[in-house]
Amino acid sequence: MARLNLILLAALVVCALSVVTSQHRARKLYIELQKEQEVARKLEVEFGQLQLEQSTWAMHSRIEKIAGGQLMMRVPPTTRIQVLPTEVTQ
């Protein structure tokens, strides 16, 4: 009887300690998760800003201005366009 009690006591102590450690680990992991979520939020902020930056740099009016002004590009006059039919005529 006493032996059984001792075994049960030992089991109890082991269980109690493991509860404590797992709880501790759970909290640590949770803090880890918090940090990762914070990183995710920061990345999301950055993504939004980059998207904004991209669309500002890639404004069609800006591209047009650079193409025409800096790169001296222009739409060819109609006299210099040759349209090729897609189907080959026999």
């Binding site: 904004l52 009016s61 109609t78």
Partner: protein, 577 residues
């Protein structure tokens, strides 16, 4: 005294005391039980709440507002997080050495800052709203107790003034105020959520207890607008306005196959990213909300009604005589007498007398049915707030003179969007599809307004109008067959027509062999370089059409040397207004 006699009173005395003590004990016990029942049973909620408030917190979880993008998913409105700096003046400990750097970071003067913090009773004062996250981090790095950050979202519009009428803007609390931001508020606004957590002494969250409400991000919305075509439309409209010193103008580009709005540009405009001083005049989406008398652009519908009724054919000759027609006390004029004209030539030369004669031969109900069928006097239902319905009076009350003037677009008012939409019947062989501001997968269901044969015949007449001899040779596009009609009208000034205020317009479609696009241009009060639709609006139409067709890769249906402009010495083509 016997021993018994000695003991009796003592015992009696003790019993009495014991009962009192027992009674007291029981009473106290009962009080304790009652208190316990009260605390555990009845007062439980309050206490539990108090206890939890020591360690648990409810955290707000912000939700982002959905993006608005064009049809190719280029963003037109994006929300990015920003930080707002707030302070608790009652708890604020602002040392003298911190005032200057803080004021500098917040871009305000030290006195201004001191004024904001003047009332020590307040618990919450915004010091600066919508700071970029990096700047906000610098503020927090000062380590001033009593200053905190709050995450908020700010809306940015990369397209700026190009799209401002359409997209609109939000206020400082990210709520839609104008345009689609207002119309779509319920769909694109995110719903913030919240969750309950347990925090330790140092403020770390150690456990997620429950999620009270999941945050719901707003839905992204894809518009039918093509940013590239919008850019062309805006640029050409701007050129036309500065060239003719006009007050305002609008351009609408429609996809003739699906009914989608590909571009919708208005001038004057404003920058939605800088909402400091907004002028309501600049904020109106004129192409959708403003009405004007369209003038001759309605003649093709009169011709179509006449062809549908079977009373006229494309080559039926109408005698316009010396260019005047008197109905009752009123007289209708043509710019120059043209004698006998076929129906096709009436459209080509834009003869008012010819159109009026056709209209007078028709029952008023037929004309009304045509105008109503193509959407005049009815809401366009494209999805924009505040769309104008236009004015088309019931046909029962039409007098002959009214029917005659309506045949060439007077006594009826429409918006530019309605006008462009109406031309869809000529582009898609007599069928009309509902408009949409949102991207569609495949065409919407069409309603037949006129027979395909009639629509094709009118399209041929529209082609004549842009060739030399018509009213708008400047609307031609190299490589494509184009059809269209000019319109010039006096502006209504109250109840009467203003003598020298005009609206010049042009509506057309291309390629005429299989129409893909409809472009409508309206120039309001041009003052220099002419005022006829064929002069002020047709060149802009040509440029927008050419650019849009090229961008969409539409196959040319004409040789590239098809543009034949009349020599500069040729007499100016006028149309009566």
């Amino acid at each position: 005294m016997s021993v018994r006699a000695m003991q009796r009173p003592v015992i009696a005395h003790a019993r009495w005391r014991a009962r009192v003590v027992l009674g007291l004990l029981l009473f106290t016990f009962a009080v304790l039980i009652a208190r316990a029942v009260y605390l555990q049973g009845m007062h439980n909620d309050f206490l539990q709440q108090k206890g939890e408030s020591r360690y648990s917190r409810v955290l707000e979880m912000p939700a982002t507002r959905g993006m608005i993008t064009d049809r190719n998913r280029d963003p037109l409105a994006i929300s990015t997080p920003v930080e707002s700096v707030w302070a608790t003046p009652s708890a604020l400990d602002l040392g003298a050495e911190n005032i200057r750097p803080l004021a500098r970071l917040l871009e305000m003067s030290p006195t201004e800052l001191a004024k904001k913090l003047a009332d020590p009773q307040r618990d919450f004062v915004f010091l600066k709203r919508h700071l970029p996250p990096e700047d906000a981090a610098k503020v927090m790095a000062l380590g001033v107790p009593g200053i905190s950050l709050q995450r908020e979202y700010r809306r940015y519009y990369p397209g700026g003034e190009l799209f401002s009428h359409l997209v609109g803007f939000t206020d400082v609390d990210d709520k839609g105020q104008e345009g689609l931001e207002l119309a779509l508020e319920s769909e694109i606004a995110g719903k913030p959520g919240s969750r309950r957590v347990i925090r330790d002494r140092r403020g770390y969250i150690i456990e997620d207890v429950e999620s009270i409400r999941k945050p719901q991000d707003g839905r992204d919305t894809v518009l039918s607008i093509d940013a590239r075509i919008q850019n062309i439309a805006f640029r050409e409209l701007k050129n036309a306005l500065s060239q003719h010193q006009a007050k305002a103008g609008g351009v609408v580009v429609l996809d003739a196959l699906t009914g989608e709005i590909l571009a919708l540009a208005n001038l004057p405009t404003y920058n939605p990213n800088n909402r400091g001083n907004l002028d309501p005049k600049r904020m109106r989406n004129r192409a959708v909300t403003d009405l004007f008398e369209p003038g001759s652009t309605l003649k093709p519908f009169t011709a179509a009604t006449a062809l549908e009724a079977g009373l006229f054919r494309s080559d039926t000759v109408i005698q316009t005589g010396n260019g005047t027609l008197t109905i009752g006390t009123a007289t209708i004029h043509d710019a120059h007498p043209a004698g006998a004209l076929t129906v096709a030539q009436v459209i080509q030369k834009s003869s008012n007398v010819g159109a009026a004669k056709m209209a007078l031969a028709l029952p008023s109900v037929k004309m009304w049915e045509m105008f109503n069928g193509v959407g005049f006097g009815a809401l366009p239902n494209a999805g924009f707030p505040g769309e104008a319905k236009g004015r088309l009076r019931p046909h029962a009350g039409w007098k002959p003179i009214e029917q005659a003037t309506m045949s060439y677009g007077h006594g009826i008012s429409v918006s530019l969007l309605q006008l462009a939409h109406a031309y869809m019947v000529f582009a898609s062989d007599g069928e009309i599809r509902p408009l949409s501001l949102f991207r569609r997968e495949g065409p919407a269901e069409a309603t037949r307004v006129m027979s395909a044969v009639t629509a094709q015949q009118v399209r041929k007449m529209l082609e004549l109008a842009v060739l030399p001899g018509g009213t708008a040779p400047k609307a031609q596009v190299a490589g494509y067959r184009v059809g269209g009609k000019t319109g010039t009208a006096h502006k209504l000034d109250g109840a009467s027509y203003a003598a020298n205020k005009y609206v010049g317009s042009f509506v057309g479609l291309a390629p005429a062999s299989a129409p893909r696009l409809i472009v409508a241009v309206m120039i309001d009060e041009p003052t220099t370089g002419g005022y006829y639709g064929g002069v002020v609006a047709a060149p802009a139409f040509s440029n927008v059409m050419a650019g849009a067709l090229r961008l969409l890769g539409v196959k040319p249906d004409a040789p590239l040397n098809n543009v034949i402009l009349p020599p500069p010495s040729a007499p100016e083509i006028r149309e009566e207004v």
